[in-house]
């Protein structure tokens, strides 16, 4: 009898252990799957070999600006040159920009096929064999889809030239707006609820309401943003009111609308986190401040807030990192599907890192999956460093107060 009970205990312990193992396995698989797509061999075929473009056996990188323009004019149609000149005169562009154009348009390497990291490690010979039969001119090259070019170049319809520069800037601009709105309002609301509010019906309604809001699906906030910021407040959010946009083309689908929408989304979380932080401040601290004749606001400003600031900061950064990863509300608010110009103010059209990942993942071609994986790594690194910053900042501030 007792033996049976004992065995049953072992079996279930194993089951609990197994479920933990499954959870961790999924995390590992998720990361491996992304890394697997972000690196690997590719077979590239150039339209024109770069060595043939530069004279006297120079490499393209050493060539003068004028020669690069010459190469462009020689190989591209007049219409295309005119379009480039219209966008920004070729003579005024920097050498790196011109070089990029030459590579993209003239050398025009085409990735014929790409392999995942696993396939690359296991079967380089197969890849070479594929090249020999399908593209004898092709070059087999190991490609890190996540590279410096990928981070510094703007969006492009060709996957091998696409980058996340615009998306990164879009994300950063948006976080700025989100923070500027949600942080002060959230902390202020938390101070009110913890320090000022009387335990009456209104307070209870506000509190219950905040908890309910934190459970509302993010896509609903997107609908709210679409109706309020994009549509109703269009003159304001498009910048038309401030002379940033022509009245006819004004459009509320801007960084400002997106940032405010996400601000509303993380507001309840910031309030709840800040409330917990403020609640953690011992009452004795307040009492001694009052005892020295400080007013309520002086007490809060000089004692309660500094004492809880490390935890408020951590909570805020964690909420902001949630905003950075949000996708659905931004699609609803109207992120642009394709922009290659850096946003330069809050009334710019925008795209963000998660939006890019979504759009690239949704494409059927394999190469778009590769750059989606590379963008995911960039996003995860961004989020991880934000969280690491939160932890370091918390420890530093905490230590300072103790020391």
């Amino acid at each position: 009898m007792s033996n049976k009970r004992y065995r049953k205990g072992i079996a279930w312990k194993f089951a609990f252990y197994l479920s933990t193992l499954v959870a961790i396995t999924f995390l590992i698989l998720l990361i491996l799957n992304i890394v697997n797509s972000a690196f690997g061999y590719v077979v590239i075929e150039n339209s024109i070999e770069p060595e043939k473009l530069a004279a006297h056996g120079q490499s393209l990188e050493e060539v003068e600006k004028e020669q690069l323009i010459g190469v462009l004019e020689e190989h591209l149609s007049k219409g295309l040159i005119r379009r480039f000149n219209y966008e920004e005169p070729l003579g005024e562009r920097t050498e790196t920009e011109l070089l990029r154009l030459v590579y993209e348009r003239v050398v025009s390497p085409e990735i014929l096929k790409s392999w995942s990291l696993l396939e690359s490690l296991l079967g380089k010979d197969d890849i070479k064999a594929w090249r020999d039969t399908n593209a004898p001119q092709g070059i087999v090259e190991f490609r890190a889809w996540l590279n410096t070019d990928f981070i510094t170049t703007p969006q492009s319809p060709v996957p091998e030239f696409a980058g996340i520069r615009t998306a990164l800037f879009g994300s950063l601009w948006m976080i700025l707006i989100t923070l500027l709105f949600a942080f002060p309002v959230g902390v202020a609301a938390a101070i009110y609820l913890e320090e000022y509010a009387n335990p009456n019906l209104l307070t209870k309604i506000i509190q219950v309401n905040i908890y309910n809001l934190s459970g509302v699906p993010s896509i609903i906030y997107g609908l709210l943003g679409l109706a309020v910021f994009v549509r109703f407040l269009e003159p304001l959010t498009s910048g038309a009111l401030f002379g940033f946009a022509e009245a006819g083309t004004a459009n509320g689908r801007t960084i400002l609308s997106a940032g405010l929408t996400l601000g509303l989304l993380i507001l309840p979380i910031i309030i709840i986190n800040s409330q917990e932080a403020i609640r953690g401040v011992p009452q004795t601290l307040r009492d001694s401040s009052y005892g020295l004749g400080a007013t309520k606001w002086q007490t809060i400003l000089h004692h309660v807030l500094p004492a809880s600031f490390d935890r408020i900061l951590t909570g805020t950064i964690l909420s902001v990192s949630r905003a950075v990863g949000e996708t659905a509300p931004l699609i609803v608010v109207g992120a642009s599907t394709f922009i290659s110009v850096d946003p330069n103010n809050v009334f710019s059209k925008f795209t963000t890192l998660p939006i890019q990942i979504y759009q690239w993942t949704a494409r059927p071609q394999a190469e778009f999956r590769n750059i989606a994986a590379a963008a995911i790594i960039a996003l995860l690194v961004l989020l991880l460093s934000m969280n690491a910053f939160a932890i370091v900042a918390r420890d530093k501030i905490g230590k300072k107060r103790k020391g």
């Binding site: 312990k13 961790i24 309002v185 609903i220």
Partner: protein, 302 residues
Amino acid sequence: MIGNELQKKKRPVEIAVSSLLFISAVISIFITIGIVSILAEESFLFFGSQEVSLKEFFFSKKWQPMINEFGVLPLLNATITTSTIAMLVATPLGIGVAIYLSEYASERVRSILKPVLEILAGIPTVVYGYFALTFMTPLLRVFFGRDTVEIYNTASAGIVMGILILPLITSMVEDALGAVPASLREGAFGLGATKLETSTQIVLPAAFSGIAAAFIVGLSRAIGETMIVALAAGAGPNFTFNPFKAAETMTGYIVRISGGDIGYDTMDYNSIFALGLLLFLFTLVLNIISRIVVHKYQEVYE
């Protein structure tokens, strides 16, 4: 006397500050009012139009706004399918992990595992969507055959959604288990119960309200989840009970329609708000139920 005078003294800064703080707190109420009134207003336009009747909305099995077919069942059915699969994955796994962490794991193991789960919880949903489409779907196709499993399917989306919800359920259940006093466990051990008997027959029932709340909150999260289904479950309403077939959920539809350029006051525009209202009501009811469960059935120990 002096105290009285001080109390009566007008302090403009104090008054200004406290009013500002109050306004900040009240903003949250306006968010709710905003959500409800906007969803209600646009839904009213939707249901008020001649093409849509409530009866059709709730009973017709066709959702094709292009040709004036407005039956929500295919979208709703897909939402229920993905959420059910997600809960089937997340509930047993989540509770299993929580029991392991709270009852079995050593302090050292806990200190490693908890941050790992937090990482899992912090990964953006679009990344899970990528995982569903590029890993889970091919895996399912290997197991069940390429002919049975479509490229977009609700099973893959549901399973990955389960992994997404798992850390949420684990942390809520673990909190609930942790709230059960040690004296209860010691009492059971004292009567000769094994560790398993203590965990399943004493601790789990005592933490039941918390576990139920975790389940409901997880479910509400699953219903509102968007990016995984938008990427992996398929684009295009389809009334099917086969989890290996593509079917668009309510959230998936909202994302697909609003991702294109939609004009204001069109049927498409109004329809996403009507679905939003339905979604909002579902999650609101679930959240309220979870709170009631916690308050009503919570065991209180000295």
